[in-house]
C-alpha cells in the first residue's frame, strides 16, 4: 500500500480561500479521516486529491511520486461517492468491472477479481442485478466493491454512509473498517459525523474554514483538543466564562479562583458533560470546584441522564451521568451543585479557534 504526502496545498475560489496551506502526512495502510462542519474544505481537499479540483499551490505525493498535475483519470485513487454514483445503465457486475476494463485486465482475471470483490461486500448473488433493483445500502456496497477491485494506491471516501439510515450506517461502518483493515488500504475518509470519525479512524483530522485544526488519533482529539473549535466540534462540552482578576484566573459561574496567576489573554474554560457531577450538598474536595444553581431541564436518554443546571450567573452547565438514585430523585427547579475536578478543566483562548492554554 501507499503513503500520501500533502504539502502546502492551497485552493481559492475567486477571493474565497477554500483550503489554506494544507500539510498532511498519511502512513501506508492508515485510515485517515477528514472531519469538519459543512463548508470546512474537507470535500474540496478529497476532490483535489482525486483530481476533480486543481489546487492553486502545493503538492500531493503518493509514495513519493507527485500526482497533483495528473488528470483525474490517471491518478489511480479509487473513490466511493456520497450518492453512490453506481452507473444506472450497467449491471452490478459491469459496474464493478468498469475500472478493470479501463485498465485492460484480461477477461478471466477480471471475472475472478470482480467475484472476489462482490464476495467481500456480500453481494456475490447480485452480480446480474441492475442498480435500480438494489437498496441504498446495497448500492453503496457496489460503490465500495467498484473502488476496491481496482486495487488502487489510495482509497477515497466522500461521506459514503451519510445517505443511509442510522442503523444501517452503524452496521456498514464496522464492515467498511474491517474490509479496509483486511486489505490494508490507505484510506482518506470524509465525514461530518464525529462519532463515525472517532469509531473508524487511525487519525482524525479536524478542519474548519479551510484550515487544519488538529490531526491526531481519535482519543487524543477527544481528550486533548488542540483548540477551542476542536473541543466544541468533537463531543459535547461546557464552555464557562473566566475572568482575569488581580488575584488570579477566576471562574465566574463557580465564583472561585482556578489559578493563582492571571493570564495575559481572554480565556474560556471547557469541561466535558460526563466529567460534571450533580449533587445536592455543597461539600467538595480541595481539588474540586462547585457551581451552585438550579436544575433547568432533565432528559432521560436511556443509558444516561442529561441534566441542565442554570448557574447563578445565568450560564447553563450540562451534565451527563448514570441515573443514580440521587439524580433520579431530582426535579426541575431543585437547587443543586455541579461539581468538577480542577484537573479536568481545559483552558482555551476565547476566540472561535482559540489555542489551548493548559
Amino acid at each position: 500500500m501507499s503513503s500520501v504526502e500533502i504539502s502546502g496545498v492551497r485552493k481559492l475560489y475567486g477571493p474565497v480561500v477554500a483550503l489554506s496551506e494544507i500539510d498532511i502526512s498519511i502512513k501506508s495502510g492508515q485510515f485517515y479521516t477528514l472531519l469538519g462542519p459543512s463548508g470546512c474544505g474537507k470535500t474540496t481537499l478529497l476532490r483535489t486529491i482525486a483530481g476533480f479540483h486543481f489546487q492553486n499551490a502545493g503538492t500531493i505525493a503518493v509514495d513519493g511520486a507527485e500526482i497533483q498535475e495528473l488528470p483525474a483519470h490517471k491518478r489511480n485513487v479509487a473513490m466511493v461517492f456520497q450518492d453512490y454514483a453506481v452507473f444506472p445503465h450497467l449491471s452490478v457486475f459491469d459496474n464493478v468491472a468498469f475500472g478493470l476494463k479501463q485498465r485492460k485486465v484480461a477477461a478471466a482475471e477480471l471475472s475472478e477479481r470482480v467475484d472476489r470483490a462482490l464476495r467481500m461486500v456480500q453481494l456475490e448473488n447480485f452480480a446480474k442485478r441492475m442498480p435500480h433493483e438494489l437498496s441504498g445500502g446495497q448500492q453503496q456496497r457496489v460503490g465500495l466493491a467498484r473502488a476496491i477491485v481496482v486495487e488502487s494506491s489510495v482509497l477515497l471516501m466522500d461521506e459514503p454512509l451519510s445517505n443511509l439510515d442510522a442503523k444501517l450506517r452503524v452496521e456498514l461502518r464496522a464492515e467498511l473498517r474491517k474490509i479496509q483493515q483486511s486489505l490494508g488500504m490507505t484510506t482518506v475518509y470524509v465525514t461530518h459525523d464525529q462519532e463515525e470519525a472517532l469509531a473508524m479512524s487511525d487519525v482524525v483530522c479536524v478542519m474548519f474554514n479551510g484550515v487544519i485544526q488538529q490531526a491526531a488519533p481519535p482519543f487524543e482529539i477527544y481528550d486533548q483538543p488542540a483548540n477551542k473549535f476542536v473541543a466544541s466540534f468533537v463531543g459535547g462540552n461546557n464552555f464557562l466564562t473566566m475572568e482575569n482578576r488581580a488575584e488570579g484566573l477566576h471562574m465566574v459561574a463557580a465564583n472561585a479562583q482556578l489559578n493563582a496567576e492571571a493570564l495575559d489573554v481572554a480565556a474560556i474554560a471547557a469541561i466535558r458533560p460526563e466529567l460534571v457531577k450533580i449533587q445536592k450538598d455543597a461539600s467538595v474536595d480541595t481539588n474540586q470546584l462547585s457551581i451552585a444553581g438550579k436544575i433547568e431541564q432533565i432528559s432521560f436518554i436511556g443509558r444516561e441522564i442529561e441534566l441542565h443546571v442554570a448557574a447563578t450567573n445565568g450560564e447553563v452547565i450540562k451534565s451527563i451521568t448514570r441515573p443514580s438514585p440521587e439524580v433520579i430523585s431530582m426535579t426541575v427547579g431543585d437547587s443543586c451543585y455541579a461539581v468538577i475536578n480542577r484537573d479536568d478543566v481545559l483552558l482555551f483562548e476565547d476566540t472561535e479557534t482559540g489555542a489551548r492554554i493548559v
Binding site: A50, F54, T59, P71, A85, F87, F98
Partner: protein, 558 residues
C-alpha cells in the same frame, strides 16, 4: 512551489477533450450563427449603391409609408393573433386541467398535431375553404350569399390564432396542474367565491406560463412568412416585405431586405425582454405536493365545457383534414375532377419526387449533426461552469429569435464570395437547418442531463476512463432518450421549414414545403395537398415516436 513545470503541465491540462470540444462548438457557432447575423446587421448600415456606412435604410423604413404600414400590419396581426391564442388557449387549459374531460388525451394530442404542422398548410387549407374559389364560399355563393373571403388581415389573424393557441394551452395547462391546491383552498377559506378565486389567485399564479406561451406565439407570428404570403393578397407584413425586397434586390446588396429583417428581429427581442422583465418579479416556486385533482361537474355546464374543448381542437384540426381530404380528390392538371383517386400523389411522383427525397435527406443529415452537437453543447452548459459555457447557453437563444429570412440572407452574404459559393447547394440548406433547429436538440438533452448526477461521470473518470471515454460510456447512454427526443423535435421543425429554404433553394434543392408554397401560388391545389399530406404523415409519425419515448409528452413540444 515550482512554477515553470506546473505552468507547462497546466497547459497540457487545458488540452483535455472538453476544452477542445468548447473550441469546436464556438467555432461552429461563430461561423454559422454569429457571422451570418452580424453580416446581416452590417449590411443594414450600408448604402445600397455607394456602400458607404449610413443610417438611411432605417430612416427609410421609419418614414416611407410602405414600410411603416408593413410594420404596423406585423404588430397588428402578431398582437391580435397572440390575443386570440390566449383567449382560446387559457379557457381550454383551465377546463382540461381542472375538470374531468372525456378524451383529454385526444384533445392535447390534437393540439400538438396542430402545433407541429406548418402554418402555411393551414393558410392554404383556409383558401380552399374560404378563398375566392373555396368550397364554403361557393356553397354560400350558390344561394346568392357573398361571404367575406379569407384574404387579408382577418385571415392571417384567424390562422395565427388557431395555429399558435396550443402553445398557450399546453403551457398554461401544465402550470395549472402544478399549482398547489392549498392556495385556492386558502382563498376559498378567506371568503372568495369560485370566480374571484380564479381571477385573484389562480390566474395570477399561472400568469408566467401564459405570458411565456403568448411570447412564443408573438415571436412566431412576427417571423411567420408563409401565412401572410399565401393569405395576404396585398396585405404585407415585414416578413413578406423582406422576402420580396430580397428577390427584387437579387444580385445587388439586399440592404432593404436586411434592414426590414433586423427590425423584425428587434421586435422579437424587445418582446422577450419585456416578458423577462415582467416575470423577474413573479417567481413562484411550484411545489409538487398537494396537486389539484380535476373536479367532476354535471349538467349543462359539463356539456358546454366538453363542446368547447372538442370544438376548439376540431376547428384547429379542420384545415389539416381538408388538406388530407383534398389530396385524394381526382385532378386533371390543376383542375379538380369528380370522384376520388390517387392522381395527386401520382403527380407528386412524376413532378416532384426530388422534393420528398431532398426534404428527408436535408432534415436527417441536419438532425444527425444536431444530435452530436447538442450532446456536446448540453454537457458544456450543464457540467462546465465557465463564462464560455454561459455564453454558449445564451447563444442557444438566438436561433429562436432570428427569423428564418434573416439568417438565410446572412448565409447568402457569408457563404457567397468571389472564390467560393455555397448558395444553391444542399450543404447550405443542411447548415441552416442545423443551426436553426439546434436549440431544440440542446434543450431536450440539457433537460435530460440535468437529471443525471455529475458523480456518475466522476466515478468513471476516477476509475480510469478519460473524459471522452467517460462521456461515451456513461453520459451518452444516459442522455440517449433526450437525444432521440431532441432529434425528433428538430426533425419535425426542420422538415417543415419554409422561409429560409425559400431564399436558399435552387431547382435541384427544392423541398416539400417549397414545392407546396409554389404549387399554392400556381393554383395547383391537388399537388400541394398530396405533398402536404406526406409532410403531415411524416410529422405525425415523429410526434407519435416522441410520445412513446418521452415522460413529459406535452412538455416536449413547448
Amino acid at each position: 512551489m515550482t512554477t515553470a513545470p506546473s505552468f507547462l503541465s497546466g497547459f497540457k491540462r487545458r488540452l483535455d477533450f472538453w476544452n477542445i470540444a468548447t473550441v469546436v462548438v464556438l467555432a461552429v457557432l461563430f461561423v454559422l450563427l454569429i457571422l451570418p447575423v452580424f453580416s446581416v446587421f452590417f449590411v443594414s448600415f450600408l448604402d445600397e449603391d455607394t456602400g458607404a456606412v449610413t443610417l438611411d435604410n432605417y430612416v427609410t423604413v421609419f418614414t416611407r409609408n410602405y414600410y411603416l404600414k408593413g410594420l404596423w400590419n406585423t404588430l397588428f396581426v402578431g398582437g391580435l393573433g397572440t390575443l386570440g391564442a390566449c383567449l382560446i388557449g387559457v379557457p381550454l387549459a383551465f377546463f382540461t386541467a381542472r375538470f374531468q374531460i372525456k378524451g383529454k388525451a385526444i384533445v392535447s394530442t390534437l393540439a400538438i398535431l396542430v402545433l407541429v404542422s406548418p402554418p402555411f398548410i393551414g393558410a392554404y387549407a383556409w383558401i380552399m375553404m374560404l378563398g375566392s374559389n373555396g368550397f364554403i364560399t361557393n356553397f354560400f355563393g350558390r344561394f346568392g350569399i357573398d361571404i367575406p373571403t379569407i384574404y387579408g388581415a382577418h385571415g392571417v389573424i384567424l390562422v395565427f390564432t388557431l395555429k399558435f393557441f396550443p402553445f398557450v394551452y399546453l403551457m398554461t395547462q401544465n402550470a395549472l396542474m402544478s399549482v398547489n391546491k392549498s392556495f385556492e383552498d386558502a382563498a376559498r377559506n378567506l371568503g372568495c367565491g369560485p370566480m374571484s378565486t380564479f381571477f385573484k389567485v389562480t390566474l395570477p399564479l399561472v400568469f408566467p406560463a401564459i405570458s411565456t406561451g403568448a411570447i412564443i406565439c408573438f415571436v412566431l407570428s412576427i417571423a411567420d412568412f408563409g401565412t401572410p404570403a399565401i393569405l395576404g393578397r396585398g396585405f404585407r407584413t415585414l416578413s413578406t416585405i423582406a422576402y420580396s425586397a430580397y428577390t427584387s434586390e437579387l444580385g445587388g446588396k439586399p440592404t432593404m431586405a436586411v434592414t426590414v429583417s433586423i427590425i423584425m428581429m428587434g421586435i422579437s427581442i424587445i418582446a422577450l425582454v419585456v416578458q423577462r422583465r415582467i416575470l423577474a418579479k413573479r417567481r413562484y416556486a411550484s411545489a409538487l405536493t398537494n396537486l389539484p385533482k380535476p373536479d367532476k361537474i354535471e349538467g349543462v355546464r359539463n356539456v358546454l365545457m366538453h363542446a368547447y374543448c372538442y370544438l376548439v381542437v376540431g376547428i384547429a384540426m379542420f384545415p389539416t383534414l381538408v388538406v388530407v381530404y383534398t389530396s385524394f380528390l381526382n385532378t386533371k392538371g390543376p383542375v379538380f375532377q369528380p370522384g376520388f383517386g390517387l392522381t395527386s400523389y401520382a403527380r407528386v411522383l412524376s413532378d416532384a419526387p426530388e422534393a420528398i427525397s431532398n426534404s428527408f435527406i436535408f432534415a436527417l443529415t441536419a438532425v444527425v449533426l444536431i444530435a452530436i452537437f447538442s450532446s456536446l453543447i448540453s454537457y458544456l452548459i450543464v457540467r462546465r461552469d465557465t463564462a464560455v459555457s454561459g455564453a454558449i447557453d445564451v447563444l442557444m437563444m438566438v436561433p429562436y429569435l432570428v427569423p428564418g429570412v434573416v439568417i438565410a440572407i446572412g448565409f447568402v452574404t457569408t457563404f457567397r464570395s468571389d472564390w467560393f459559393d455555397l448558395t444553391g447547394t444542399a450543404v447550405i440548406i443542411i447548415m441552416i437547418y442545423f443551426i436553426r433547429r439546434l436549440p431544440y436538440g440542446v434543450r431536450a438533452t440539457t433537460n435530460n442531463l440535468r437529471q443525471i448526477k455529475p458523480s456518475l461521470e466522476e466515478a468513471a473518470i476516477n476509475l480510469g476512463a478519460s473524459p471522452l471515454s467517460a462521456f461515451a460510456k456513461v453520459t451518452v447512454p444516459l442522455i440517449f432518450p433526450g437525444m432521440i427526443v431532441g432529434a425528433l423535435l428538430s426533425f419535425i421543425t426542420a422538415i417543415n421549414e419554409l422561409s429560409s429554404t425559400l431564399i436558399l433553394y435552387t431547382s435541384g434543392t427544392a423541398t416539400m414545403p417549397v414545392k407546396i408554397y409554389i404549387s399554392v401560388l400556381d393554383g395547383e391545389f391537388g399537388l400541394a395537398a398530396a405533398l402536404s399530406t406526406i409532410l403531415l404523415v411524416s410529422t405525425g409519425l415523429c410526434v407519435y415516436a416522441v410520445f412513446r419515448l418521452s415522460d413529459d409528452k406535452e412538455g416536449s413540444f413547448t
